[in-house]
């Protein structure tokens, strides 16, 4: 701790911070633009000026940039110094010389950092009479709007896009006061994290294009804490609604997971909630009571009811179905090829050789091995973290030269291309290979063998891999050396290849590291799972979909499918046969092929209209809450199932009246979920006797929004399930982290208000953790090596081994109903190695027939020289590939 003097008062601060960070952490308001807590300082905007004094006798002082000055012990500064104040006001005045008169029509207005800072400095009147510079804008694709006139040249966008996210197609062009931030030509921003520009840019240059279609100001949006449901990472989001329609997703800071950034799938995938394919009422149309009685009577009399759960439904919904049909007739709803590897991951979540890594842990790892994962497509936010991990080395070098880590430009200039080791072992080249120090391509079995070999090279006690090629053996030694030499090594693997052996191999590496590392607590393993609640469902230990098919063959009276499109999981004939076996009831929010076959459809609320708990890939249970009440006739899945259970006599009238009661039931029945009630404060939680409002205190239009329907202003809907209220009334201070959704503080209307909610700048939110780690992510000591080393991969004549290739835009079911995401989804190709193509006599772009046993698909071919011979990659989860049980051997025939 260091003591600094601000306006002659002493304060304790962290000496590793710069003065700006330190002052903001202490709660002072200093205006700034170019500094960003996740990206450090470059001193470009000159806005954060304060006055520094040599010692207590110095009365003159000198103006310095707070963001470029370390908070060294004994530093004396003045924020209120009149000269410093005038300087800051002049800086804003310069920055505003060319600023257009746009606020009323600017989408940033009301959440604009430039507005806030202008007010903060007191610059209120435009004095210049000269003409304003103007620019032409670019079309940047379906996500981002461009309005260059509003730029203040802080360089945050390019620093974020290029340096932080690794994008290439956004840059700064031109010279002097003509600098231009954009692309070389009009066109879609290619980076998968482009949406963060909306929050990174302190002005309205980059704004959310999906929001613009139904524009609403920040103060008018109703929001609730939520969890991204588009992959297993579990980023925290703040979805926002108005007039009963979901309008946008904003990042919700979570120190351990998403930090300040979301991926584009998570940010722009929300539009499925407003899709025309939403199911709004019971089909066929019958009164609610009748349909519930009807389904209940089947359960009461027939007894043989099959329940199909879903990895994209909450724990509560899955548990409710399990209770309704009985644990032995509750199935997980995924096929064996997916559920086996997911079960392996779940096993690791319960008993792991080293602590499970959060996304933040990966950011600070100094050597990373990625085993079998195309991270940018299977766990996008984790890939962004890996990009930061390779910068550890430059941080170390900088530290040796006494350059603080926040001194971004200096650190980068010093480091040049110096990077911490990153090893990528995958079936085909991935986006992260460009920053990797070692890359290896192999079929999943060979990747697993490499993993086993690395483990053995780290710890000779680990099982040896027989028959390893010389090259592989050397590579394994090299990687082992890298990982052993690291201070904080991490291994990332998971379900991306749908190969259980690969997961065991990864666990072996982690175990070998934990056994040999001087400080085993510093070793980390990070996991990936396919969907938002895959981990939670796997922890429920239900049988898989194949078992459900089997059960149906021996007779069933009814099948209840929970939020699961079975045609994405299995071949058409199988699902057809299964659904024909009995009366089918489907609970879902969007029309799909399964709902088309259902006899009864119960309209379920999406994540925005229900609440529940999801377990992410690090075993963290997190709660999401209703952003808006569901429309008339729509219910949360668990409520539908509760109603049916009551009618069928499985529950009594009084049970499960609120979500907390369901959570208590889960905790009582399944010990693995002991901790989930701690994921967020319970519904009874109050501060000063008050609930937490979902609406900002400036929420407008209360007495007019519904006046065209009724002038009587109905009471706001009640929410028995959470400590949140559908109202602007309630506790006005910062709520605890698990309930914090919007960030606002006096004078801070932009997203940067999150500063005021953090324990220190860039640190965790105040008010306790959001989410609860099941088993706390600790390591277990009594784990032994796995020795199920697979045979090496051998190609087969006339056949290819097809592995799944996930895509950030396309592979996930719900986000594909968002027009923006659908526009970014590429046409599906079967990717093959050119040598295989030559052998099979097929050429690029040619349509081929791909035959897996009885299933056949026709697809165009694309050459991918990075694939190992005999292995082909098929995009997963697209309509063209839905229901194909990859990985599997297939025959390719040209047409």
């Amino acid at each position: 701790m260091a003591t600094i003097y601000i306006d002659n008062k002493p304060y304790e601060v962290n000496p590793d911070d710069n003065l700006l960070q330190a002052c903001l952490s202490l709660g002072f308001n200093i205006p700034y633009f170019c500094w960003h807590p996740a990206m450090g300082s470059v001193g470009a905007c000159r806005q954060c000026a304060v006055k520094q004094f040599k010692d207590e006798n110095d009365t003159k002082g000198k103006i310095i940039m707070a963001c470029m000055t370390p908070a060294a012990d004994g530093t004396r500064i003045s924020i209120d110094d009149p000269e410093a104040k005038t300087f800051r006001a002049s800086v804003i005045e310069w920055l505003m010389l060319n600023h257009p008169h746009d606020c009323p029509v600017c989408d940033e207005g009301g959440e604009c950092h430039l507005q806030d800072m202008t007010v903060m400095t007191g610059h209120a009147y435009r004095r210049t009479r000269f003409r304003k510079r103007t620019y032409r804008n670019q079309d940047l694709g379906p996500f981002i709007n461009h309005e260059m006139n509003r730029c203040i040249q802080c360089y945050r966008c390019v620093r974020y896009y290029r340096d932080y996210a690794g994008g290439r197609d956004l840059n700064v062009f031109s010279v002097h006061d003509h600098v231009y931030f954009g692309r070389a030509h009009d066109g879609t921003l290619e980076n998968e994290f482009s949406g963060n520009l909306v929050e990174v840019c302190p002005t309205g240059v980059f704004t959310d294009k999906t929001l613009a279609r139904h524009y609403t100001r920040k103060w008018d949006l109703q929001d609730a804490p939520s969890i991204c449901i588009h992959c297993g990472v579990g980023c925290n989001t703040s979805p926002r609604a108005r007039y009963g329609m979901l309008r946008r997703i904003v990042n919700r800071f979570h120190f351990d997971i998403n930090g300040y950034f979301l991926c584009d799938r998570g940010r722009f995938g929300y539009e499925f909630v407003n899709s025309e394919r939403r199911i709004g009422s019971i089909r066929p149309s019958v009164p609610q009571r009748q349909v519930i009685e009807d389904i209940a009577s089947v359960i009461k009399n027939g007894r043989k009811v099959i329940g199909i759960g879903s990895p994209r439904a909450s724990l509560e919904a899955n548990f409710a179905l399990r209770m309704l049909v009985g644990a032995d007739r509750f199935f997980s709803g995924v096929r064996a090829e997916e559920s086996l590897p997911v079960a392996k991951v779940a096993e690791l979540l319960r008993r792991s050789p080293c602590p499970i890594a959060s996304v933040h842990d990966i950011e600070v790892s100094d050597a990373v091995l990625v085993l079998g994962e195309d991270l940018i497509n299977t766990a996008p936010r984790l890939a962004l973290a890996v990009r930061q991990s390779v910068r550890r080395k430059s941080m170390e070098t900088a530290a040796r030269m006494n350059i603080p880590a926040w001194h971004d430009y200096a650190v980068r200039t010093l480091a040049q291309d110096e990077r911490s080791p990153l090893v990528i072992a995958t079936p085909y080249e991935t986006a992260l290979d460009e920053i990797a120090s070692e890359s290896y391509r192999g079929a999943p079995e060979d990747l697993a063998r490499l993993g086993y070999a690395i483990a053995c090279a780290i710890d000779p006690q680990a099982p040896r891999v027989e028959g390893l090629g010389r090259e592989e053996a050397e590579l394994a030694e090299r990687i082992a050396g890298i990982l052993k030499g690291a201070n904080r090594p991490a291994v990332i693997f998971g379900t991306g290849c749908r190969n259980a052996a690969l997961i065991e191999a990864g666990a072996n590496v982690a175990l070998a590291l934990a056994r040999t590392h001087p400080d085993p607590e510093r070793v980390r393993l990070a996991l990936t799972v396919p969907e938002c609640n895959s981990a939670g469902l796997a922890l429920m230990e239900a049988k898989d979909l194949d078992a459900a098919f089997e059960a149906a063959r021996s007779g069933a009276d009814a099948i209840i499918v929970l939020e699961n499109d079975l045609y994405r999981r299995s071949a058409v004939q199988q699902v057809d046969e299964f659904l024909r076996a009995a009366r089918t009831v489907v609970l879902d929010s969007l029309e799909n092929e399964t709902t088309a076959k259902a006899e009864t459809i119960l309209p379920a609320g999406t994540f925005a209209e229900s609440e529940g708990t999801l377990v992410n890939s690090e075993g963290r249970a997190q709660r999401y809450f209703k952003v808006m009440p569901p429309r008339q006739g729509v219910l949360e899945s668990w409520r539908w199932l509760r109603e049916i259970a009551i009618a069928a006599g499985r529950l009594n009238e009084d049970s499960w009246r609120s979500l907390d009661a369901v959570i208590a039931a889960i905790e009582a029945e399944l010990p693995q979920f002991q901790e989930i009630s701690k994921a967020a404060p319970a519904a009874s939680f109050r501060i000063a006797g008050q609930k937490i409002p979902r609406q900002l205190h400036r929420y407008s239009g209360r007495t007019a929004m519904m006046a065209d329907i009724t002038v009587h202003e109905p009471a706001p809907p009640r929410d028995p399930d959470s400590a949140l209220a559908f109202s602007m009334e309630g506790y006005q201070g910062p709520p605890p982290a698990g309930l914090a959704s919007f960030f606002w503080a006096p004078g801070w209307n932009s997203y940067q208000a999150v500063n005021k909610y953090q324990s220190e700048i860039g640190g965790p939110l105040r008010g306790g953790p959001a989410g609860s780690r099941l088993g706390e992510g600790k390591r277990t000591d009594d784990i032994s090596y796995s020795s199920r080393i697979p045979e090496p991969f051998r190609s087969r004549d006339g056949k290819v081994f097809v592995v799944p290739a996930f895509r950030i835009f396309g592979s996930e079911e719900l986000s594909m109903h968002a027009p923006g995401i659908a526009a970014r989804a590429e046409k599906p190709f079967l990717e093959v190695n050119p040598s295989d193509a030559e052998k099979l006599g097929i050429s690029a772009e040619q349509e081929v027939a791909l035959t897996f046993g009885a299933v056949s698909r026709s697809l165009a071919i694309r050459m991918n020289p990075s694939l190992p011979p005999g292995v082909a990659a098929l995009p997963a989860g697209l309509p063209e590939s839905a229901g194909i049980p990859v990985p599997a051997w297939a025959r390719i025939t040209g047409r």
Binding site: K132, E147, S700, T703
Partner: protein, 171 residues
């Protein structure tokens, strides 16, 4: 004693003064233009809707009786898709007019607003929009703003230079 006589005197004196009662509604009093009565939405000098759907009036309104939804035309001009004022809630404080950056929303000297049904006090855009500029003449927000709209390209607003040629390296 004295006070009784004084009162009598005053009453008698009033009998010879001019009555100040106005025969409303047959006789209408003069209300200054700044009088805060029924609200209208005005048009700019080009005859286009002035309101740019910025939501500032709505947030300024202390009784929250304004609600609207922004939309934009194919050239990017923002305007309200709907604009509703619930006059049964309005307190005619004029905050909305103060907040409006475009002079679109204006209070007028019409205070004759009474209805038998509250529903009839709910005015939509079609009821609010007048065909002129109202109290404030000449101001045209889109001619000052940097946003391009139909008929006004980048650099064509008041006090603007033509768009920068970003390929030029000249000083």
């Amino acid at each position: 004693m004295f006070s009784i006589f004084r009162t009598l005197w005053q009453v008698a004196a009033h009998m010879f003064q001019r009555p100040i009662t106005v025969q409303y509604p047959d006789e209408k009093p003069y209300l200054a233009p700044r009088y805060r009565g029924r609200i209208i939405l005005s048009r700019d000098p080009d005859g286009e809707e002035r309101c740019v759907a910025c939501y500032l009036c709505a947030v300024a309104c202390p009784v929250d009786c304004i609600s609207l939804q922004a939309t934009q035309d194919e050239y990017g001009r923002r305007y309200p898709e709907f604009f509703r004022i619930n006059f049964s809630r309005c307190i005619y404080c004029g905050y909305c007019e103060d907040a409006c950056p475009t002079y679109a929303i204006q209070l007028t000297p019409d205070m004759e607003m009474s209805e038998y049904r509250r529903e009839n006090m709910v005015y939509e855009k079609e009821h609010l929009l007048i065909s002129g500029e109202g109290k404030y003449h000449g101001y045209n927000f889109y001619r000052v703003a940097g946003l391009s709209i139909r008929g006004k390209d980048k650099g064509e607003a008041i006090n603007e230079d033509p768009p920068v040629d970003i390929h030029s390296l000249l000083p």
